[in-house]
Amino acid sequence: MKTHGRIPSSFLLLLGLIAVLLAGGAAHAKLTIEITGGVEGAQPIAVVPFGNIGDARPGVDVAAVVSADLARSGRFAPMSPREMLVTPHREEDIDMRDWQLLSMNSLVVGEISPSPAGGYMINYDLLDVFTGRKLLSGELPSTEKGLRNAAHRIADAVYEELTGEPGVFATRIAYVTSTGRGPKSRVTLRVADADGYNPQTIVDSADPIMSPTWSPDGRRLAYVSFENHQSAIYVQELASGRRERVASYDGMNGSPAFSPDGRKLAMALSKGGNPDIYVLDLGSRQLTQLTDHYAIDTEPAWSPDGSQLLFTSDRGGRPQIYRVPVTGGPAQRVSFEGDYNAAASYSPDGRSLVMVTREGGRFRIVLTDVGGGSRRYLSNGSLDESPGFAPNGSMVIYATQNNGRGVLAVKPIGGGASQRLSQDSGEVREPSWSPLLR
């Protein structure tokens, strides 16, 4: 019975499917989002409640989700439906003077009809209130379960049309939560929609979980787990729940980071006696050591073109950011201001960096140019950490403390409203924003 040496892949798929069913059915504390900053300069927009055609009875108020997304961005001030004098659903039913009177800039109307194939078809239009011109017209099929996602995609399209940059409403955020202390403590790795809905537990453990990070295709997460009293780096497929332990060397296994093409994983390992940067080829399993220094080297982050890696090192006595070509060679120091700079990462366009800096005993998030200059503080806490760009580069997400409790914060780089994401109970930390999901 030699054939039993390998499990048929269909069997593994079945196991994975069961893991997904279990994960999908779990009820979890939602991430609650509060807007914490001012909203000056937000554009007035009206998203009229969508009409239902025939026997369409969608379980989600699609227009309300679109409105909430646009409001959360801080760039828009959507009108409350209660203040609307009329509620047209189609372009031909609109009298622009109604909306000009209400000082709206833009108008979104739409309707939802039953699809012959099951589910719904959503039709929507975005119009300019001053000119009456139709800026956008879209048609989107959706299942009942997919209605929130469809609404996020409509918000993305509206946002991109009006601001010129891609929206990130249909993206997701991975984060670590912890509840309880001592033997009762639980640590979970979760993924939620960018608006905090649909939280899913990816891993649940009594031991620490650290450093979640997305693969560029948005289908996998890499993270560090301390199960069985050992640190190890795992790569887990979200859809199936299947995971693989890719690094469990003696000593530290930490700080995974996918290359922009998704084929390699940079990491920090101390198997050579002290923490150095390594790159693992996920296909061939070849491990290449990139730095070799008796100091700490950790927190690798790829440049968007995949040619360089940033990392944190205390080789100069204190933690600072360095840059090294992926092909190897000498490392160049990037950060010079301040005596503690760490956890740097690139903006999607490769022109800016965010990092953690210490100033007057406080750890804050700072934005710099790619050379480490032109510093601008983005956060004002004392233990802020884990910064990362949204996939459109317009915002930075990071972990901070609110009344002694771990929460997440989102700060738009161009100014405007900030967001705070918290859970009803427990701590939230180590956010990682997904790439744009297509």
Binding site: A19, T201, Q236, G254, S255, S270, I296, R318, A342, A343
Partner: protein
């Protein structure tokens, strides 16, 4: 025993299904635990770890409050992995015990305070654990009796956000 390994995969699966897989169950469904995820991802032929019977330990000086071996924690300065001189005697006592006791082995768990980034602190905890390991090896302890594990700032001994708590958290624990 290839057939048995497939069976051993199916058994936890059945337990998993019983625990939360049934759609009509009134119990709230739960997410898979890390162990279950591993069970689902484990390649065939890799046996499960057998359950070890509980060992009855004889009275050990490690558990005797009057023994110098009872103390098992050394503390560090902020952002520093150098062993402070006042802990050298304590570490020598443990080195001597490890050297002389057949079968004795220790995990050196490195920890940091919460200040600074989590991954840098994981590396700093690793450096602290490694500093103790190197000292023990220099004192003659065979390397195979020593392993290191950094938890960084993930497992604070004290959850306060002040100097006193931070001082208690910057440590290496000797876990036998």
């Amino acid at each position: 025993m290839p057939q048995r390994s497939v069976l051993s995969l199916l058994l936890p699966l059945a337990a998993l299904l019983a625990a939360g897989g049934c759609a009509t169950s009134p119990e709230p469904q739960r997410a898979p635990s890390a162990a279950e995820l591993d069970a689902a991802s484990r390649p065939a032929g890799q046996p499960y770890e057998s359950v070890r019977p509980a060992e009855t330990k004889p009275l050990s000086p490690l558990d005797d409050p009057s023994s110098p071996l009872y103390r098992k924690v050394v503390y560090f300065d902020y952002d520093n992995a150098e062993i402070q001189p006042q802990y050298l005697d304590l570490l020598r006592v443990h080195a001597n015990y490890l050297y002389r006791t057949p079968g004795a082995a220790v995990t050196l768990e490195g920890h940091t305070d919460e200040r600074g980034t989590r991954d840098y602190n994981l590396a700093l905890g690793d450096r602290r654990a490694d500093a103790v390991r190197r000292f023990m090896i220099a004192e003659g302890v065979p390397a195979e009796k020593l392993s290191t594990l950094s938890y960084g700032e993930e497992r604070p001994a004290d959850t306060g956000h002040n100097e006193q708590s931070w001082a208690l958290n910057r440590r290496v624990e000797l876990v036998y």
